[in-house]
Every structure is written in structure tokens, then in C-alpha cells.
Symmetry: C2
Subunit: 388 residues, 2 copies
Amino acid sequence: MAETFVIAQGGGPTAVINQTVVGATLEARKRFPGARVLGALHGVRGIRDGNFVTLSELSEEELRAIAATPSAALGSTRDKPDEAYCAQVLKGLEAVGADAFINIGGNDTSGTQAILRDAAGGRMTFMHAPKTIDNDLMESDHTPGFISAAEFVAGAFLSVDLDFRALPGVYVGIVMGRHAGFLTAAASTWAADEASGPHLTYVPERAFDRTRFIEDVKSVLARHGRCIVAMSEGVSDGSGTSLVESLVPPEMLERDAHGNVRLSGTDLGQAVERMLAEDLPGQRARVDTFGYLPRGNIATINDTDAREAFEAGAFAVASVEQGDGSVALQYNGVRTEPKLVPLEAVAAKTRHMPETFLEPDANRISAEGLGYLQRLVPRKFEVGRVFV
Amino acid sequence: MAETFVIAQGGGPTAVINQTVVGATLEARKRFPGARVLGALHGVRGIRDGNFVTLSELSEEELRAIAATPSAALGSTRDKPDEAYCAQVLKGLEAVGADAFINIGGNDTSGTQAILRDAAGGRMTFMHAPKTIDNDLMESDHTPGFISAAEFVAGAFLSVDLDFRALPGVYVGIVMGRHAGFLTAAASTWAADEASGPHLTYVPERAFDRTRFIEDVKSVLARHGRCIVAMSEGVSDGSGTSLVESLVPPEMLERDAHGNVRLSGTDLGQAVERMLAEDLPGQRARVDTFGYLPRGNIATINDTDAREAFEAGAFAVASVEQGDGSVALQYNGVRTEPKLVPLEAVAAKTRHMPETFLEPDANRISAEGLGYLQRLVPRKFEVGRVFV
């Protein structure tokens, strides 16, 4: 019996999100001969507005080329559908005769699938396939998109550390991560030894203190002659006030229409530069905001990440007969495998980096944290002898 | 007859500067059996202070590993020796019995070699081997270090453009380049077509106008729904005032001990963010400062760049019998080859990007500019079909 599948991508793109689309499409073709697979343009917005491409009509060669391309070939959306919007999405799904809707995204996306499931009354199946560079979905050991972004960050910090061995100073790399510090922690993955940077890591999970930060930097400078710092965009002072709010003069803060402070990595970067210039005058220091560079970089698409993202999409399709659910990547100590979990287990929940991934008395990634990161992103490059 | 060679690295490191050191060392070993090759730690500072490593004692395997490692394994320096400092460097060279000194760096380095040559009175040979990500040395078609940095920038902008097709908005990537726009121009190298970003490029060679910038962005947004901008850190308004000076409130500007405005990519980034927020209110916009990321990134070491850097070092050693000079990479329409040119031809001179590399009436790289960039950095990745 022919089936109609709808696939959509939501939220920030990653290097491997197209692998999930193609994994799902090829599995549908294999498991449900004659199945129609529709890709919605710009996520749920495309379903609401009736904008689709027929993925099932593409050749395998074309699909594989799309799979290997970073970012979201179907486009994405930041729309967070409320009940009214969901009703329109449901109408859109019914209009194309969808039997199953696979929505690829973060925890918000799992929540959207739950709302749709409740409104649809069993008439179709709702799957959530995981995706995020933040690695912050419950139930999963890690998430598609994270490993490639982590590989970029690991290589960048290894390289910058070498740069600062040649011309010493202080370097702060600001990495995306509003709520979870995993991607920032990835900066340490390929550090060769204790003396290699990053020497300090600051993540959202631990309250940031300016005085402590400056002491940390001074201490590292005294010991190594240079200091490499990895810092999350989402660091805050623990009171709910983000670091940029506490450091930037009120009249300089950008606010949106609701009066909420607009946080940008560049704002934080400049605030950190200012902090260093005031508290360590004369000390050579550089701050860069990685921003979007790690999240879909074509040079650092990781093979394991690509394969797992593909498998997550294929598994979503293979699981439709089991009913609604969220695909989680679970690690059993030996290998990573997709499993189906309830949508509610993932929806609206954020996994934070474990406290044990940080050393208790130092702002550094612990051995446990490094073990996790190095399992996911094994060393790829050897470094020759450096004399300074 | 055994020779003593001294090698030093100066200025900002690159992905391939160690190739030049090792190319020189292996050529010395081959051409002058028994030769002693000393690497100075942290450039001319190491010569002045008597800090060397004996590169000629390292195995070929170890040397090859060093060659493949980005950044300066011997350390580098930003010291710009005046005559007094040069006298100390000369003493240091004499103390180790140097017959030739190969100094790897930018145009300042060539100037240093000229001063030393004049002071040494023919007692030893002074070679300059080229190195810079800015691609701004006279006499050379391109410089070692540029191609790898350009590859990073090309891949990053290709990737970010795909990201912004998925979630449209305005993106500004700020790329290093105080005086020359070559590295910023490299952002366009792998753009698939007219509609692909970067859509706008702003370089030091062309005066920046805020009103024109905003008009440009609005025009691109109207046409493509998104706008990707590549901007050099060194853009200025043409009056000698850098962009950041003209945009940042005076009390917010960082000044050094001499009262000079301290320019950082982050300052410029925030100034641009502010400009966009004021002149395009409500428009989603993101600004990232690439900073040091392109200059020694281990994931984007380009093979051609590595080979040419190695050959430049080997050629420097092979040329000592001809006398003092600067190694230039010259392109004859078919291949790139090292040539020896006078130190003065390179010293204290900056090559700017030709005006013809920009379209006359648009802030975009011209066909001529693209031809140059694509010759140096051929396309490495294919991009599959994108539906948005």
C-alpha cells in the first residue's frame, strides 16, 4: 500500500540535517514501494502554505548529493506553532493525504509533534527526528549535527593554541551555546596535554564571575605564557542575568520589541575584550566570535555524524508502524543505535552538560568530559614537535 | 665545505610556515652535506638572545611532521628591529658562525634582511623567504600561507550562504586584512552562481560609505531574500579614518599607550551590528569575526600552499651562492615558480588588491578577481540541489 510521507526541517541547520531527510526518503522508497515523499519548504510553514518538493521523484544520485550538502536543502523555520498554527499544519498535512509526518529538529520540534498528534486523533503518525549542534536533547547520548560542529571547534582551538604558542597572548573564542556547554567543551577535545589550550572553559552550566575569570587568566599566563579560553555565548552570572547584560552599559544594550536584551556573540565578545583591557592593561588579547561558522561548515562534515543522521531518518520511517515517537541516539557502551522514545520525553526539555564534565575547582573540562568528547570526535590530525 | 644556516620565522604564523623551515633544512642537508641548520626561537629575538634548536639533528620523519603542523614551530615575533637591534642580531649570527640567515616573513622581514646585509659587509648571505595570509608582497603572484587561509574563508562563506538560504537574514563575516583585501575577496571563490553569497564585499582598497552599504544590503535583500557580506577588518572611509573610529562613540574606543585607536575585529563587528540595527530595524542580522581562525587552521591546510611553501624554503637555501635576496613566487601563465628578487623590491612595500578585482559599480568581486582566486583555490566540494 502506497504511503505518503511528509518531511520537514526546523530550527538552526547543521552539517548533516540533509542526511536525515535523505535517509528517510530512501528508507521510504525501500520499505514502501511507490510511496510518495514530500519535503516541506521552510519547515512547518511549508506545510501550512502548501509548499512542497516531491523528494520521491529525485534520483538516488541527486538525493545522495543533497545528503552530503550542509544546511537545510528544504529550508528551515524558527516558527514555534501554537495550537492555531498547528491546526493549519494539520490541515496542510490532510490536504496532501499524509500518513506520516517526520519533523527534524530540536526539543521544540518534538513538542510540535506532540501537539499535532493530539489534534490528529490517530489519523496519522507523527515522528520527531533529532537535530542540534547544542547536543541538548534528552534521551540521546549525542545528537546529529553536534559531532561535526564539535570537530570544527576542536580543530579551531587546536590551531589557535599553536598560533598563540608562536605569538603569546590571551585568546578568547566565543562559541554558540545558549543553554548547554557541550559545543564549547568540544574546544578541548584534541588538546594534546595539560599545557595545551584551551586552558579555561566557561559554560552556561556554571555561574561566571569576573574576578575569578581574571584570576584564572593571570594564573594561566604565569604558568604557560599564554592563555586560550573557550566561552559559551550563554554564560551568565547565575542570577539569570546574562554576562553581556551585566557587563555592557545599559544604554548600549540592544533590546527587541518586548524589551528583552538581544544577545549576540559580538556583544559578549566586546564586553570580554573590554574586561581584559581594564583588568589586564597592556596584555595582548584577542576575542573572536565563532558564531555560525561551526554549524554547517563544509570542510568539517564528520563521517560518523553523517551516518548517524542518515540512520536517524531511516529509523524514523522504519518506525512509523510502531506509532508516534521521537528518535533518540542511544549508546550502549559499544555502539550508538537509534531508539524510539515518547515525544514527551524530549519535548520542551533541555539536557545540560553534566557538572562532572567540569573540574570541580577549576574552569576546565574534566577527564570524564574529555573521555566523552574524544569518544565522539576521535583525533584526526597529528601535531609535530613545537619548540615554544 | 660545511655551512651554518640560521632560519627564523617572523610575524603572524600561517598554516604552512613550517613547510618553509623544513624545505630549507632538507635542502641544506642535501646540497651541503654536514651543514648545520639552527632554528632561532621566536624569530630574530632568538638570534639576539642565543636561543636556537639544531634542526639539522632532527630525523627526516620528525621534520616532515613539523612541516605538516600549522603555525610557527620555532615561535615567532612581532619585533621590528631598528639598527641597534640589528647590530645585536648580527652579533648573534656571528656568534654561531652563520654563513647564511634565512628569515621567513612578510615585507618587514625583507627590510630587516636588507639592514643586516648592509651592516654585515658581505660576511654572510641574507635571504628573505615569503610568508603572509594577506597576500600583499610585491613581486609575488601569491604568497605562502594565503591559499590555505583563502580555502578556509571560501568554505566558510559557502557554508554560511547555505545556512542563510535555510533561515534567511543578513550575515556579515569580518575577515582579517588591514591593508589588502585578498583574503576577504577569497570569500567569493566557491560561490556557485550570481545568487550565491557573498553578495557584497568591502575591502580596504575601496572607501566605505555607510549609506551606500545600507542601500546595497537592502537591494540584495529585495532580490535574494538574504544578504551575505564579506568585510575586511581594515575597511575605512577613505580619509584615513578606520570604519570603527567613525562608528564607535569616542569614549568607547580603546586606545593604546600612544593614543592610537586599537582596532579589533570585534569592535568593528559590533559597530556593524549597531549600524544594521539602526538602519534596518527588525531585520535579522548576524555578525561574526573570523579573526585568527583562517590563518593556521589544521583542517584547511592546502596541498599546493604546502608544496609552494616548502619549495620557497628549499629555493632560499639553493640560492645562497647567488647572494642576498628575497624569494618570490612568480606565475608564468602555466605554473608557479620561485625566483630570487632584490630585498629592496619587497621591503616595506605593500601590494594592494587590484581595483579591477572589484566590479566598478558594485561592491562585489569581478570576474577577473574570481579568475585569480579560482586558479589558486580550485573548487573542492560539490553542492547538491537546494530548494530554497
